[in-house]
């Protein structure tokens, strides 16, 4: 096994009285793609959002257990959530660019970090857009509104925006579920390139996609982590029957 980036220990989450994650233990390897799969409502998004503490925004959510990123528990009292989220970026299911220009969307993160120098911003914007494989499509229209881009371009712009603050971990919640096949394959290709530098955790409903892009796969069911392992193993030779049933589409 590779080096571990994120270590989850006994993570339990309740929404009010409702148990959404039950005692999750998981080790996510560094600079690899880990896919989270499982039927709707099993807690994939909830789990993903515990990794950058986005669940803090939901008043009814109560959490116990630990999430260690680089050996540091992010639920520790003296952890600065704002800093954490700079290190752990997130790409959402529905692309959500700000109604600003393409340039300003990518410059948003650096700007809130106090970077205002034109030259530096220009450079960050360019490298981020290049890394998100969208530079060539937008380089002549950086001042145009981001809302004028196609859905797939918007999503890659959102990825560029995430990259702009230089995180080490990128969380993606069904980043391609609203996209056409061509845009989807562009995103998948992109994920492939990004994993050289970033640890990626991706939620997907698409089994082929999980098989194509991920190195490791975690199967969730009813708030429990049922099985975790190398994607190849999970897809060809799962140890647990539920996993096999789900992957082969015989779920019930």
């Amino acid at each position: 096994m590779k080096e571990i980036k994120i270590k989850i220990k006994d993570l339990t989450l309740h929404y009010g009285q409702k148990l959404a994650l039950n005692n999750i233990c998981l080790e996510i390897p560094d600079r690899r793609v880990t896919a989270l799969i499982g039927p709707s409502g099993c807690g994939k998004s909830t789990f993903l959002r515990t990794l950058n503490r986005m669940n803090d925004l939901i008043p009814s959510a109560r959490i116990s257990g630990e999430v260690l990123i680089d050996e540091l528990n992010i639920y520790d009292r003296n952890i600065d959530v704002v800093n954490l989220r700079k290190r752990v970026g997130m790409v959402f299911q529905k692309s959500n660019p700000f109604s600003k220009s393409i340039y300003e969307n990518v410059a948003y993160g650096p700007r809130i970090n106090g970077i205002n120098e034109r030259k530096v911003l220009d450079e960050i914007v360019e490298t981020s857009l290049k890394r998100a494989a969208i530079w060539n499509e937008v380089k002549d229209r950086l001042r145009d509104s981001a809302l004028g881009l196609s859905g797939g371009q918007q999503q890659r712009l959102c990825i560029a925006r995430t990259l702009s603050v230089n995180p080490d971990v990128i969380l993606m919640d069904e980043p391609a579920s609203a996209l056409d096949p061509l845009s989807t394959s562009k995103i998948e290709e992109l994920i492939h390139q990004l994993k050289e530098q970033y640890t990626i955790v991706i939620v997907t409903h698409n089994m082929q996609q999980a098989a194509r892009v991920s190195d490791y796969t975690a199967f969730f069911y009813l708030g429990e982590l049922i099985e975790f392992g190398k994607t190849k193993t999970i897809f060809t030779n799962p140890t647990i029957k539920q996993t096999e049933d789900y992957i082969t589409g015989r779920f019930g």
Binding site: M54, G109, I112
Partner: protein, 300 residues
């Protein structure tokens, strides 16, 4: 049997709703026609830009227009920032069910149903007798400057009256900023305040403007709160400081139609003044509505 019954019921409902629409439109039409016919002979550039003459039986209404506009401006300067901050607290910071949020909301609702004359009495008691007189005693050795009706206290009283409307409409427009955008900002490591400043406020600024204009437009026609707080019967000069009294359109109409030496003779002036007040509120509302529809279009 059943079928004819539903048919009759349908026709009845259409008839009744149609009739009420007609009644409302009819009333508006009558008001407009009466006011325009009555005031037509007076309405002129001269009328808009000159002072009243001969015990207000002749001349124009410029001081009343000036006073109304000034009142509206000062009241906006007070009500809009204050209302925006309150709305900001309610939508972004207060927990939905905390007692403090509930208390504020209760206060806003109550404020919204208080009769406007009560605001006038409150302004007299609080701003003039308490704050104003207190300022005079503390800083001016008891010389009467702030402790009497003036345009500042009148505007502040008026801003209290419009505050509930401003708060509610600002809250509405802040709520239209999608949660996804707030999350996008927070997920990039923005603080809550940065998110508000760079995402929520820019996303609702036009809504804030619209709501404010509509609220203020409503305030512009009010008279009751001004009776005790600063509106004057007649002034030979325009207000030049915040502690001057002022003339105002609504009150001017009231005076002309009840206290004038010769009510019948000044009828055209009354109608023309009414027309000006209607136009003023109409223009304010129009700006508000146009702005709003443009925002709606942009949001799609």
């Amino acid at each position: 049997m059943m079928k004819t019954f539903t048919k009759i019921k349908g026709a009845l409902i259409i008839g009744i709703t149609g009739l009420s629409v007609m009644v409302i439109l009819g009333i508006i039409a009558i008001i407009l026609v009466v006011v325009i016919i009555g005031g037509k002979s007076q309405f002129s550039w001269e009328f808009l830009t000159s002072f009243p003459q001969d015990g207000m039986t002749k001349g124009g209404i410029f001081p009343a227009i000036y006073g109304t506009v000034l009142l509206v401006l000062i009241m906006s300067v007070a009500a809009v920032p204050f209302g925006t901050i309150t709305a900001l607290y309610l939508t972004e910071y207060a927990k939905e069910n905390s007692w403090i949020a509930k208390t504020i909301r209760f206060a806003i609702r109550t404020l919204a149903v208080v009769p406007s004359i009560i605001f006038g009495l409150f302004g007299l008691g609080f701003f003039i007798k308490f704050v104003g007189a207190g300022m005079d005693n503390a800083f001016l050795g008891g010389r009467l400057v702030w402790g009497q009706p003036n345009i500042l206290w009148a505007s502040l009283t008026m801003s209290l009256l419009t505050l509930p409307v401003v708060i509610v409409s600002v809250e509405e427009s802040m709520k239209t900023v999608p949660r996804e955008l707030r999350e996008a900002s927070l997920a990039l490591g923005a603080t809550k305040w940065q998110t508000i400043r760079k995402v929520v406020l820019p996303g609702s600024v036009s809504g804030i403007l619209t709501g404010s204009i509509l609220a203020v437009g409503r305030g512009a026609g009010e008279v009751a709160p001004l009776l005790f707080t600063g509106a004057a019967y007649y002034l030979a000069t325009l207000p030049s400081t915040l502690h001057d009294q002022f003339m105002v359109l609504g009150y001017h109409i009231y005076i002309m139609s009840t206290q004038s030496a010769n009510v019948d003779q000044t009828l055209p002036i009354q109608f023309a003044t009414t027309l000006v007040l209607l136009l003023l509120t109409f223009i304010l509302n129009l700006i508000g509505v146009v702005l709003r529809s443009q925002i709606r279009r942009k949001q799609k």
